[in-house]
Amino acid sequence: MRRLLFLVPLAVVVGLIGALGWPILEGRDPRALPSVLLDKPVPPFALPGLTPDVPGLESVELTGRPVLVNVFASWCAPCRQEIPLMVGLAAEGVPIYGIAYKDDPAATRRFLAQLGDPYRGVGVDRDGRVGIELGVYGVPETFVVDAAGRIRHRHVGLLTEDAARRTLLPLLEELAK
C-alpha cells in the first residue's frame, strides 16, 4: 500500500487533465458564457420596425407561447450563415423573432430580402441598448423564451442544425406542453 503512494501525484494530475480537458473534448466553446438572465423575464423593451410603417418588436409579443429570439446583424458573417437554418425552422412552424443589433435598417432589409426572412417580427436595436439589457456580447445570439416570457436558454454564436435539433427544439417542445 505504502509503496503505491508515489502514484498519488500521477493520479491527481490525470484527474485534473480529465476534469479540465473534458469540456474541450465535449466541444464546449470556452468563451460562451451562461446567461445570468436564465429563468428571468425578458427585460421590457419596445423597438421600432425596419420601416416606419412596419410594426417593431415589443417584449410583450414574446409571451403566450414559447418562441426563439434571434439577435442578428447584417454585418455579422455567422448570422448570414445561420439564416437558412432559421428560414427552415420558421417553415416548420417555429416562431422566431429577430432583434437587429446595431445595424442600419436599410442594410437589415437588404440582408433579409436577399437571404430570406424567417422572423415573425423584427425590432431595430440601433444603439444596442436592448442588447445590453439582454446581456448580449456578440452576434448572433439566440434565446429560448417560454410562454410566460422568461428566458430559458441562450445559445451564443452560430446556431448549427445540430444544436438546434439537439437542444433548442426539444426545449421548445417541452415548454409548449
Binding site: 468563451r31 458564457l33 451562461p34 446567461s35 445570468v36 438572465l37 446595431k102 444603439d127 444596442g128 441598448r129 445590453i132 439589457e133 439582454l134 446581456g135 456580447y137 456578440g138
Partner: protein, 169 residues
Amino acid sequence: MIRPAALAFALACLAATPIAPALAVQPDEVLADPMLEDRARSLSLGVRCLVCQNQSIDDSNADLARDLRRVVRERLVAGDSDQQVLDYLVARYGAFVLLEPPRTRSTWLLWYGPFALLGIGAVGIAFAAARRARRRDEPAPLSAEERSRLEALLSDDAAAAEQPSEGRQ
C-alpha cells in the same frame, strides 16, 4: 481648497500632455464633470470587455466596450453609486464582467485554492523532512545476517570473520 493659480498651472500641464494614441476612451465619451469622469475611469478599469475577455472596457476598442463605457457614465450621471453601477452590469452579464471575481461561495476555491495547495505542500515537505531526520538519527536495525556476522566478529578472531562471501570484493 485649491488655489486658482495652482489649478491653472495644473490645467496648463494637462493641456500640454499629448493624448496617448492607445487610449481607447474617445474624447466625446468623456464627462464634463472631472470627478464623475475619474470614477467612470476607475470603474471601467475593473469591468471586463466581454468581446476580448481579458481587457478592461477602459482599455478596449471593441464596440461593446464603448457601449459599456457609455452605460457606466450614464449611470454615474444618473446618480448611481459605484457599487450600483457594477451591480447593474453584473445583473446583465454575470460576475464574469468583473475582472476581479467577487469572493462568494462559488469562488472560494479560486481565491483560496492556491493557498490550500501551498499548505498541503508545506505539510507534505515537513513530514518528509521529519522522516528523513529520524532516519539519519537512528540507523536501520541490523538484519539477522548482519547480526550473526557481528557476533562472529566479536567472538571469533578476525580471520574467521573476514571470510569473504561469494561475489564480494
